[in-house]
Structure formats: structure tokens, C-alpha cells
């Protein structure tokens, strides 16, 4: 734990050194800070993660905060590792990415708050005192809010930040309420001791759990609280969006996991809430991602989907706990944890890739990109690797965590209880749908953005020359590949956490999972063998032949240009026809003004179902109620006095009447 403190201290020092140096050097200092801090902090984190020990330290911080208990158990150690990993790669990435912004007035604000964001998250996962927890939680929201504002002079950036912060406030209130209810019932301020609250069979315990779930769900981006995500991510600089999406969302997951570990025998309402919300989240997330044309928004929606998948894992964990089926619940939590890890590896990778492309081309609209692969081959191939992983296709990491969830659901199908079977079959179907839709989504991204021909005319001499950003992406790609090919070893990362999550899990159960993962790994290598075989066969066959390079078939048009290429919107058109209920389309028709008009544009955009039918109307309703009272400050002194008098006399009369 001393090393952990040291690592916090390093960040603290680094942040303050950062305040006093030139903008150009800040990213380097941050990078060194993060490297040192992670190197120091990883030691206790990994130690606890692999040994399963729990270490605790108690500090006294005087009146308002009270005794601070920092407790590092495998769950917090797991998230610590995620944070350290995320902070390293995003700091590396930031070195190149932020070069362009070094004369931006918000530069030092963003760099300062990003460091503090990491610091607050590191504290968050070990904090036990609810008051301090909430403080750190708000600090996290605040610093991430500030980190978004690099391009604060843009209106949409500010709007996104505003919306984000308001959502965070709502989340904060829900968590606060939940905490206070528990702390009121248990007369304690330590989070670990809330476990007793859930075991005490209190009347409200499942309501409190659901409240907490929703509170953390706002942070994690579950539907219907997901709306801030597709706005905040595109607005923020790429290293921040990568970090936010990869790591910060997991803080919500951390909260949900922490409290689901406490549930010994969850009520059916709790299980079904978690599962149902997760299904909707995953399905809608990926559905909206498919129709998105802003690459960062698309990735944000895909984050929502992945959060939904993690949520499904947690739901299965609770389901197994409820019906005392250890295998289901063990596999479920393993899947959730592993997917958390994987997502925090491949999502930053994708964001970094998108960020690099954005830096080179200055557009995030995939309809305007195309053919990037030829200019930025390394970035693009790593982007493709990330896409394969995120679509959950075999060989790379995403498949492995989804496989664990499938295993869990299969286990559920075999169960003799019809409830479990039914839920599991729904889960399998949902996962399958998500998988295929992710495939559609990412083939669209790659096909339209990276492949084909350049769509815009201006063609800067783009080159893969950003060393630091490539380095950060390479690190992530290596992890993806390792996890994909050696799932049986990578699952050791979560072994202690899983065993920690419930008292009834046994080591042998966990080892049985490893055995089946070993086989998966074996098959992956078989695939590689077959692939190499066919590939060499093809190379041999083509060896002595002339390679004919010709233009492609274009329906008889002899001068096919990039304008004739298939667009992202048309690519997903067939699906749009099917799912038109959920996709609220908004067409902006730009009117013809002159007598001899030059061009007519129709711009289509998509509105969020929940935003349109749930959030906007309720906000509008609130506004309307408020507007009814807007006439009270009309400037007339007489009116003011009249109102006061009416209030006074009415209350007087009521008082006397009684």
C-alpha cells in the first residue's frame, strides 16, 4: 500500500510540475509521471490481483471527511490495473496528438485536469468511506468534464460538456441517495460494511440496489442514460475519449460490481433489472452505432453496446447467485470482468486510430473518408485488429470474453429450472444479434473509411509518422492478440477477483474454464495453420504468373469515380428498412432560394429514440412548468408587494382557521 501511495504522490507532484512549464513539454512530463507512477503502483496492484490478498490502510482526515479507509482487494486491484494501463497508453498517445494544440488556451487546463482525473480514479477504487468516495467521484466527474473542453470555443463541445456534467450530477445524486439510505440503516460509513445491509433482508434493499445500479449506470452509459456518451466522446480530444471510454466508464461498472458482490441472494427484480437494461443497452447501442457517420460517435455508441455486454455478464452472475448455480455465476462474472479488460484495451485503440485519422484528414465523417489504408497502413491495420476484437470475432480478445458469457448462458440452458433456461436462451439470442450487428457496424467502418478510394479531393501527403501514437497503439494491439490467442493465461488476470466475488466459488470450477479456453486457443492455432496452408498454396499457384492490375467492374461506367462509391448510409440501408421503428430520422431539407439554383442538399440525421421520446419530452415538460411561473418577476413593485401580501394573508387565515 505504501507503493500505491507513492504512485498517487508521483501523479500529484507531476501535475503540479506540469502547471509551471511550457505547453510543449507538458505532455512529456505527464508521460513520465504516468510511467513512473504506473511502474510503482502496478506492483501492489498486481501483487494483490494475483495473490488475492486484501490490504487495508486507515487514515484520519479530521472532521468533515472522517476516517479514510483505503482498501485494496482483488476487485479494486483489477480496476487499478485498468486505470494504470489506460493512463500509460493515453499519455503516450497524447504526446503526438496534443502537439497540434500546444497554443490552445485550454491546453494547460486539459492537461491538468486529465492528470487529476487519473488520480481521482485511482483513489476511487480503493476508497471505503462514503463521504470521501463521493468526493472523489465528483472530482472524477469534474476533471473529466474539464478534460472534454480542449476545444471549448466550439459550441457543440460546450453543449456536450454541459450535458455530460448534468448527467453526472444525476448519477451522483442517485448514488448519494443509495449510500445515505444504507448508511442510515447500518450506521456505518464504510462501503464494505454495506454488505451486511444487503444480507439483512431489509425491506428496501432491492430498491436500493436498483437505485445504485442506475446511479452507476449513468456513469457507465447504460440506456436510457447513455445520451451523454455520443456527445461527450466526439467533443473531447482523442486521448481523453479513449481514456474515458476505455477506463472511466468502467468506474460505473466498478460500482455495479462492487455492490452486486454484496448480494448473497439477489431478488428476481434485481436480476431482471440488470439483465433487461443490459439487453436494451447492448442492442440499441450497436444499432445506433450502425447508423452513425461520425466515427467517434460511432465508437461511443459501440462503447454503450460493450457496456451492455458487461452488464449482461453481471446479470448472469446475479442470476446464478439467485438460483445457487455457481457455474453460471462464475462464468458470468468472469465474462464481465474479462470484457471490461478487453474493452478497455480495444476501445482506446479504436479511438486512437480514429484520432490519428482525424488529425491527418480533419474530418470525423466517415462518408468523407475512404482509402485511408493506403496512406496510413499501420494505423489502419491496427484499427482493423481492434475492430475484429470489438466485433467479438475469434482469434482476438473480444471473442474470448463473449465466449465466457456464452458459456455461462449455455450452462443456464442446461439448468433444470425453466426460469434460468428462458433467461439464458434470451441471452444467447441477444448476444448473437449483438455479434452480427457489430459485424455489420465494423465492416461498414472499415469498408467505408479505410478501404476503397479517397472520397475528398484534397489529398495531403499523409504518412504514418506519429511515432508515439503508433507506439501506444502497438502496445494495445499486442495485448489484444495475446489475450485472443492465449485466453487460458490471460484469464489468470481475473482469477482472484472472480474467486473473491462470491464465497462459494471454488478453484476447481475456475480451472475447468481454463481447460475449455485452452481448447479454444488450440483451435485458434489450427485456424492459423489452415490459413497459412491455403495462403502458401495460393502464393505457390500465383508464383509464376503475371499479376494483372485492372480497374474494377463498375456496371459499365467507364469512368467510375470515388463519388460513385458505396456510402455508409447506403451500406446500412437494408437494415434501416427493417428497424425503422427505433431509428428516428430527421431530414433537413436545404431550400432552393434562387431562380436558377445551383445545388440542392438534403441532409439526413438520426435522432435517438430515448432522447426523442423520453428525455426531451420530460425536459420540455419541466421547462413548461417552469415557464408558467416566469411571469412573477415582471418588474412591477406593486405586483411584488401584492404577491407577498397575498401569501401572508392566506397563511394567516389558514393559521387562524385552524
Amino acid at each position: 500500500m505504501k507503493l500505491y501511495f507513492l504512485s498517487l504522490f508521483v501523479i500529484f507532484i507531476g501535475t503540479f510540475i506540469n502547471l509551471f512549464i511550457k505547453n510543449e513539454r507538458k505532455t512529456f512530463v505527464s508521460l513520465i509521471t504516468m510511467l513512473v507512477s504506473s511502474a510503482v503502483g502496478m506492483i501492489p496492484a498486481l501483487n494483490i490481483l494475483f495473490s488475492g490478498a486484501v490490504s487495508e490502510i486507515r487514515l484520519s482526515a479530521g472532521y468533515p471527511i472522517g476516517d479514510i479507509v483505503l482498501r485494496m482487494d482483488p476487485l479494486s486491484a483489477f480496476f487499478l490495473v485498468l486505470i494504470y494501463l489506460g493512463s500509460i497508453v493515453s499519455s503516450i498517445y497524447a504526446v503526438d496528438y496534443l502537439k497540434k494544440y500546444s497554443d490552445n488556451p485550454q491546453f494547460s487546463l486539459v492537461s491538468f485536469s486529465f492528470n487529476l482525473l487519473i488520480l481521482s480514479m485511482l483513489l476511487l477504487v480503493t476508497m471505503q468511506n462514503i463521504f470521501a468516495f463521493l468526493m472523489v467521484w465528483e472530482a472524477m466527474s469534474l476533471t473529466s468534464f474539464l478534460s472534454i473542453l480542449l476545444e471549448g470555443e466550439k459550441r457543440e463541445t460546450r453543449r456536450a460538456a454541459l450535458e455530460y456534467f448534468v448527467y453526472m450530477d444525476i448519477s451522483f445524486v442517485m448514488i448519494l441517495t443509495g449510500f445515505l439510505i444504507m448508511s442510515d440503516a447500518m450506521k456505518t460509513t464504510e462501503i464494505m460494511r454495506f454488505a451486511e445491509y444487503f444480507q439483512s433482508n431489509s425491506k428496501y434493499s432491492s430498491l436500493v440496489f436498483i437505485l445504485l445500479f442506475f446511479g452507476f449506470a449513468v456513469k457507465a452509459g447504460f440506456v436510457p442514460f447513455h445520451n451523454w456518451l455520443p456527445k461527450a466522446h466526439p467533443a473531447s480530444p482523442s486521448h481523453v475519449s479513449g481514456f474515458m471510454s476505455g477506463v472511466m466508464l468502467k468506474m460505473g461498472i466498478y460500482g455495479i460490481m462492487r455492490f452486486s458482490f454484496f448480494l448473497d441472494k439477489p431478488a428476481l427484480s434485481e436480476v431482471l433489472t440488470v439483465l433487461f437494461v443490459s439487453y436494451i443497452t447492448a442492442l440499441l447501442g450497436i444499432l445506433y452505432a450502425i447508423f452513425e457517420k461520425d466515427i467517434k460517435k460511432l465508437l461511443a455508441f459501440s462503447s454503450i453496446e460493450n457496456i451492455g455486454i458487461i452488464g449482461i455478464g453481471i446479470g448472469l452472475f446475479l442470476l446464478g447467485k439467485r438460483y445457487d448455480n455457481q457455474l453460471i455465476s462464475l462464468l458470468g462474472i468472469s465474462g464481465a470482468l474479462m470484457h471490461s479488460f478487453n474493452h478497455s484495451v480495444f476501445k482506446p485503440l479504436l479511438f486512437f486510430g480514429a484520432g490519428s485519422i482525424y488529425l491527418k484528414t480533419h474530418t470525423r465523417n466517415i462518408e468523407k473518408l475512404g482509402g485511408i489504408l493506403k496512406y496510413l497502413p499501420l494505423t489502419s491495420y491496427m484499427f482493423i485488429a481492434g475492430s475484429i476484437a470489438i466485433s467479438g470475432l475469434p482469434l482476438l480478445s473480444g471473442f474470448m470474453s463473449e465466449l465466457l458469457l456464452y458459456f455461462s448462458a449455455i450452462e443456464g440452458v442446461r439448468s433444470s429450472l425453466i426460469q434460468i433456461t428462458a433467461v439464458s436462451i434470451v441471452t444467447i439470442a441477444v448476444l448473437a444479434f449483438i455479434g452480427t450487428m457489430a459485424l455489420l457496424c465494423f465492416t461498414k467502418v472499415i469498408g467505408i473509411m479505410l478501404l476503397g478510394a479517397r472520397r475528398s479531393k484534397e489529398d495531403p501527403q499523409m504518412k504514418d509518422d506519429m511515432k508515439y501514437s503508433l507506439l501506444s497503439m502497438i502496445i494495445l494491439t499486442v495485448i489484444i492478440i495475446f489475450v485472443g490467442f492465449f485466453p487460458q493465461y490471460s484469464i489468470l488476470l481475473i482469477k482472484q477477483t472472480v474467486l473473491h466475488s462470491s464465497s462459494s466459488f471454488s478453484l476447481s470450477l475456475f480451472d475447468s474454464i481454463r481447460e475449455s479456453l485452452e481448447k479454444v486457443s488450440f483451435v485458434s492455432f489450427i485456424f492459423i495453420l489452415i490459413f497459412i496452408g491455403i495462403f502458401t498454396l495460393r502464393q505457390i499457384l500465383q508464383k509464376n504468373r503475371k499479376k494483372i492490375v485492372e480497374k474494377v467492374w463498375d456496371c459499365g461506367y467507364q469512368r467510375g469515380s470515388a463519388r460513385m462509391e458505396y456510402t455508409g448510409a447506403s451500406y446500412v440501408e437494408p437494415l434501416k428498412n427493417i428497424t425503422s421503428v427505433l431509428i428516428v430520422e430527421k431530414k433537413t431539407d436545404i431550400d432552393i432560394k434562387e431562380y436558377f439554383p445551383h445545388a440542392k442538399d438534403i441532409e439526413g440525421s438520426r435522432e435517438d429514440f430515448f432522447e426523442k421520446y423520453m428525455i426531451n419530452p420530460s425536459v420540455k415538460f419541466l421547462k413548461r412548468v417552469f415557464d408558467m411561473f416566469s411571469g412573477i418577476q415582471r418588474g412591477s413593485t406593486q405586483q411584488y408587494i401584492l404577491m407577498g401580501m397575498v401569501f401572508l394573508i392566506i397563511s394567516l387565515l389558514i393559521l387562524i382557521w385552524k
Binding site: 418577476q633 415582471r634 418588474g635 412591477s636 413593485t637 406593486q638
Partner: protein, 211 residues
Amino acid sequence: MYYGLLVLFALTVIYFSVTSRLRAYVNALAAQGVILFLIVLVNMKETNFQSVILILIETIGFKTILIPYILNKIIYQNEASREIDAGLSNFFSILAMIAIFSFGFILSFWTKEVLEYSNPFHFGVAFSSIIAGMYIILTKKRLITHIMGYMVFENGIFLFSLTLLKEMPLIVNLGVLLELFMIIFVSGFFVTKIKESYNDDNIDNLTDLRD
């Protein structure tokens, strides 16, 4: 005698709704000062020289002489003599005053048991005067009239304190008077200023600050 004075006081209040001349308002206020002094004298049980002097200063000195003097000066400075025609006619104002007084009396008889005061008529006049002061403030347009309405309001409170209280502590009484004087002074200053800025002391000018 006592009841007569109360009726007289009520009449001065109603007088506000009969006329629109500002000087008449000031005179009514001065008259109210005298009536209040008499009411206190009549009501006083043990004669105490110190408190008689105090009351004298309070009612005659301030309410009859000093404040009307200031008000007259302001009226003179502002070259205003009549209240601006409000939307409500005097006829309606009288009706409203009658309604206020009736309400006051009904309330005072109704709450006699609850509030345990000795003289419901006195209470009614006092209560009605307070509301009437408010009514003047709420319906008249000139700021100077508002100040006078406030004076009526204050006199009503004075009357009110007489019905319920044997006497106010000395220090409070003095303080109240000082305050009253200062308020009139400051308000008068502002009325003059507002007149300078807007060429008019109509309350409707002062609605720029709004949301």
C-alpha cells in the same frame, strides 16, 4: 370620545380614496398624527410624564409636523399636485375601502375569542388601516403616494400595537421613529432622483429590471 377618534381615524384613511390631490393626502396624514396622539392620551391608564413626552414627539412631532413637512417639500420640488389617473376610479376606490373595512371588522369580531383582545372595534380599525395602506400602495401610481401609503400602513401598525400592547419599550419606540424618518428621507431622495431621471414619478416607469 375614544370610539369617535377611531371613527375619525378610519375616515382619514378612507379620505385617501376620495381625493386625488397630494396635498390632501399629506393633510390627512397630519390629521392622523393628531388623532393617534389623542387616542393614546385617552387610552393611557397611569399618567407618566416621560411617556407623554415621548408620545408627543412621536405623534405630533414626527407624524404631524416633520414628515408632512418633508412630504410637502418633495411634492413642491416635484411639481406634482395630483395623483395620476389610475385605472380605478375614485368610486371604485371607495367601494374597495368599504370592503376592506368591512373585512377588517368581520375578521376582528370573528377572531375576538381566538386572539383575546379587549376592543374588537379598535382592532378592526387598525387591521383595516394596515390593509388600506397596502391598498394605496398597490393601486396608486405615484411614488410619493406610495410613501404616503406606507405611512398609513405604519400608522395602522401603531394603532395595532396600541390595541394589543400596553406600551412599547422606549428604545424601540425611538428606534422605530428614527427609522421611519430615515425611510421617508431616503425615499424622498429617491423620488426626487427618479423624477429627475424619468421626468415623472410614475411607478410604471420602474419596470425595466425584469426577467
